[in-house]
Amino acid sequence: MVSAAEMLSVAAFLEGYHAQAFPSFGSERMGAPVVAFCRLDNKEIRLREPVMTPDALIVQDPTLLHQVDLFNGLDTRGYLLINTRRSYRDLGLGDYVKKFPPHHISTVAATEWALEYVGRPLPNVALLGAFAAMTRRVTLESVVAAVRQKFPGKLGDGNAAAAAKAYDSIRTN
């Protein structure tokens, strides 16, 4: 998740944005809930407070949905992207997602695509592909360039393919 915010900031930087990405670690162990933030702007970003009213929220681990107050601060004019194969109703979000404009909410099977293209259950890059398609704030090309910068070589190829797959799944939806 932290890498996703970092790569999103790099993608935005490549398109001329000022971008700031930073994590908030719950605790220093694998598996602990982690929140990471990314801000994009056309001018210098000086603000250092956490993002408390996001324009877009990406949920990498849907098992957190009912453990933590994830949607606190998310405006229903914003964007919501969830990594899952399940339906909104299944997730208990049937009524909640009706508040959003139709193209502002999406689910993607990012973990499965990561397993398929990268061989490991790391869904963050696929989620960035989907995010680019949904919000159109950054292009897929910039996302892929940021991913290849972080993961050179074969790992980058796989992740780039996963991002493209997720991007297409949103665009054709």
């Binding site: 000086r46 603000l47 407070e49 933590v68």
Partner: protein, 417 residues
Amino acid sequence: MLEQIEGSQAVAKAIALCRPEVICAYPITPQTHIVEGCAEMIRTGAIQNCEFINVESEFAALSVAIGSSAAGARTYTATASQGLLFMAEAVYNVAGLGLPIVMTIGNRAIGAPINIWNDHSDSMALRDAGWIQLHAETNQEAADLHIQAFKLAERLSAPVMVCMDGFILTHAYERIEIPDQAQVDAFLPPYQPRQILDPADPYTIGAMVGPEAFMEVRYLAHDKLLQALSVIPEIQQEFKDIFGRESGGLFHGYRMEDAETVVVTMGSVAGTVKDLVDELREDGAKVGVITLCSYRPFPLDGLRRALQGAAKVIVLEKSLALGFGGVLAADVRTALHGRDTHIHTVIAGLGGRPITRKSLARMFARVERGDLKDPHFLDLDLDIVRREIDNQRSQITAGPIAENILREIGPCGPKAV
């Protein structure tokens, strides 16, 4: 070259450009990425003629640094929090010996209770050890200050800590101009040690000094830091001449023209304060900000002049002297001694508690109304505090305070940042 890069990596690259000869460090969050970055560059050959020495503790890290610096090598290390405390004895020795070591502090709280997040307790604990302490407001400034730090340290033969907020800066990705080698070489000459341990020409460094001379030696260490008050702005100007950027100096003012209420602060929170000040200015409030870059030496006279027009001063700090109050606030009060300026102490952000515009705006409003108690603890949950005070008073076996508070608050998710 302009890069979108993590603060720690930018600092590692800045260190590399300074052509260090010895780097010895022990990893501790949130400093780890910096020394990992340095080690990696030595491994790949991106840093030439430099040895990375693995050590078993922070005490060893700075002790090895003392040896290498005394032997004439440009020496760098980095630490944070308990790591800085663990090397405390060596911290004083470096300053006492006048060795120009540069050390990054990834500012982090001190336990117990254990806490990995940012505040300024660590560098504050060693503020009077004889090191120059510079605080970075942004990652650009963090990178730039390291380049300036070697020049400053070597010109005065005094050690420099470059303090940057843990996580908030060390782990933040933002755009940073990474200088090129030719610029840094033009700015920073090769290290010429003022004293050098050489078996071919032996002499003593670190002799015992008795009552007959200790006062004089100590006074000279104090005088050296006071000299830094003029050297720091000189180096700031020399840096600007070559790199074209304003970085470093004793302090920066923001919207200080006609400011009647001024926030004095240090480190990355200044950015948040500036955003709020812009908002307040739009509503007609005459507010400004002073961000201290040099905490030691403390620019008493400069600050006194800069705050001449201020009727109210709010000292916003991430440190708390237990049993006393604000640490930075006490320094600012000394600078303003004899004036009738209203000085408010605001303690904020301890242990990584976010400092938000919303909370700062509420605090500002109370300052303007004149009903802010001093010192003020931003976003302190007084109900919980009072209940625990009652609990501790009412039963002798009340148990550990930290764990009682955690139970009161309940399971705390990542949103409770």
